[in-house]
């Protein structure tokens, strides 16, 4: 008994459940957890609490890279002066461009009003700092220092100075997780800027960037084409650059072509990202859908006495010439109108491919 320590106690039950049995139980538990995690939101609170408790570990793990940043931040005076000069020049150019942009934006708004389109240039944005990058090389996720307290919502678009970065997938009170466009789980509607062709860009999960699957074999797309975000689906603000096509090839044995694109956003450089509120468009779409549903119910209920009115209203407003302010821009106004007219706006203002 020499090898046993003084404080060693003989266990009450000399043999607990065997090692194999315990392993099996834990494996079953893990598989159940995976199953429920994939199926629903029941495990969300557990995840949130664990992630809250692990914040110090994340902070400790971020120390080395912060130290490197600090060391890199030590610059000589001449470098800073040079940088300052460059920045001033850049700022001058940008402000000139911005003033031109203001005029263009105003013009754009006027033209859009003429066209009676409901799309607005999104203007509500929030600068967020990237505080962590997922270290699993096959999950392209970042953590931002803004959460539900700042009004961030799931599905919100994330852009940087060069293009779309991704979208928010998980919101905690002070932080949020965003999926980058290059993650294999991520897909987004895009438009080819040159031709207006609408398609979908799926992440590849590695440095090759984005894939545009299932293109018709006669689609007009070639190297160097710019992809911009499309507002189909209502998640992303339209018109932000998404990527540049670098390869188009037919798929062996299929009737489709595939294109590959590099993301436009500088995904692994920089520490800031811009959260864009596109909720207006989405809320409009939701409100229009809800109105449509309500209208359908109303019609079912009032079919007996209200047929004359319902039949008369669509005739009064033919959808070929919508009014300057369509119902989709103001959901509150739309709800006040008689039910039969609200079927029209949501599909009509959406651009279809």
């Amino acid at each position: 008994m020499n090898s046993l320590h003084d404080s060693y106690h003989r266990p009450l039950f000399p043999r607990g459940p065997g090692l194999g049995l315990r392993t099996l139980l834990l494996m079953a538990l893990a598989l159940t957890l995976i199953f429920y995690d994939m199926r629903g939101d029941t495990l969300k609170p557990a995840r949130a609490w664990t992630s809250y408790a692990l914040t110090p570990i994340v902070w400790v793990a971020s120390l080395p890279s912060r130290l490197i940043d600090v060391v890199r931040g030590i610059d000589s005076r001449s470098t800073i002066e040079r940088e300052n000069a460059t920045l001033k020049q850049q700022q001058f150019i940008l402000s000139a461009k911005l003033s031109k942009m203001d005029a263009l934006e105003a013009e754009n708004r006027r033209l859009r009003e003429l066209l009676a389109s409901s799309a607005h240039l999104p203007d509500q944005v929030l600068v967020a700092e990237i505080i962590a990058v997922n270290q699993d090389p096959y999950r392209h996720q970042i953590t931002l220092n803004r959460g539900s307290r700042d009004g961030v919502y799931v599905g919100q678009a994330l852009v940087d100075a060069h293009g779309v970065m991704g979208q928010v997938v998980d919101v905690a009170p002070n932080t949020s997780k965003a999926l980058l466009v290059t993650d294999p789980d991520h897909g987004m509607p895009v438009e080819i800027n040159r031709t207006g062709l609408q398609t979908i860009a799926v992440g590849l999960g590695d440095e090759r960037g984005l894939r545009l699957p299932f293109l018709p074999s006669n689609a007009d797309i070639k190297d160097g084409d710019l992809l911009v975000s499309s507002s189909l689906g209502g998640r992303f603000p339209a018109g932000y650059p998404v990527g540049t096509v670098y390869d188009v090839k037919p798929v062996a044995g299929e009737h489709f072509m595939e294109a590959y694109a590099y993301p436009a956003a500088q995904l692994n450089r920089g520490r800031q990202a811009l959260l864009v509120w596109n909720r207006g468009v989405q809320a409009d779409a939701d409100a229009a859908a809800a109105d449509e549903k309500a209208a359908a119910q109303d019609r079912e209920m009032q079919q007996g006495d209200d047929t004359g009115k319902a039949a008369a209203t669509p005739a009064a407003k033919p959808d070929a010439a919508p009014p300057p302010k369509p119902a989709a821009t103001k959901p509150a106004e739309a709800t006040a109108k008689p039910p039969a007219t609200e079927k029209k706006p949501a599909p009509a203002t959406r651009k279809t491919p």
């Binding site: 404080s7 494996m27 159940t32 995840r47 270290q135 096959y138």
Partner: protein, 165 residues
């Protein structure tokens, strides 16, 4: 050399698991991140071989859950992998410890590969497809780090043991 007290062993155990968790999270350059060694499996295997009286299964499961939260992978993925790995290491302990260090390094490669395979399999089963050959790189880098980890841990233990006893 006398054995360190159970409290010291426990403190070292928990501290080393925490270190492994942090090492698993430290940012690496993009080129290296695919080859990041599997620190948690390494550490758990070390303790399972070195101190057989310590419970490793439950800590492995809990560490796996933490890793799942930190990596935003399906809840239970890494827990499953770690539990299976630890089971194999504990079961075959008598086989692993008769080897000298460099042979044990090679003998453990299939265990790391099994862990990589489990991660790959759960990813595939949950429609998170990223199948590239680089996925198997951690098995190799982990094997390379095994002798280093073993020697460093032994060094720490001998010094601490000498101080305390």
């Amino acid at each position: 050399m006398s054995r360190p007290s159970p409290q010291a062993v426990w403190a070292g155990y928990l501290l080393s698991l925490l270190c492994a968790l942090v090492l698993q999270l430290v940012e690496l350059p993009d080129a290296l991140s695919a080859a990041r060694p599997l620190w948690l499996p390494l550490m758990l295997a070390y303790w399972a071989l070195r101190e057989p009286q310590l419970p490793v299964l439950i800590p492995a499961f809990l560490c796996g859950l933490m890793l799942d939260v930190l990596y935003a992978s399906p809840f239970g993925q890494h827990a499953l992998g770690l539990v299976v790995l630890v089971y194999i290491v504990v079961r075959l302990r008598s086989f692993f410890i008769i080897f000298p260090l460099w042979q044990a390094t090679i003998a453990l490669v299939p265990a790391w590969a099994l862990y990589c395979f489990l991660m790959f399999w759960v990813d595939g089963a949950t429609q998170h497809e990223a199948e590239i050959w680089l996925r198997w790189l951690p098995a190799l880098s982990t094997a390379l780090f095994w002798p280093l980890l073993w020697s460093v841990m032994e060094l720490i233990r001998s010094r601490r043991g000498g101080d305390e006893d």
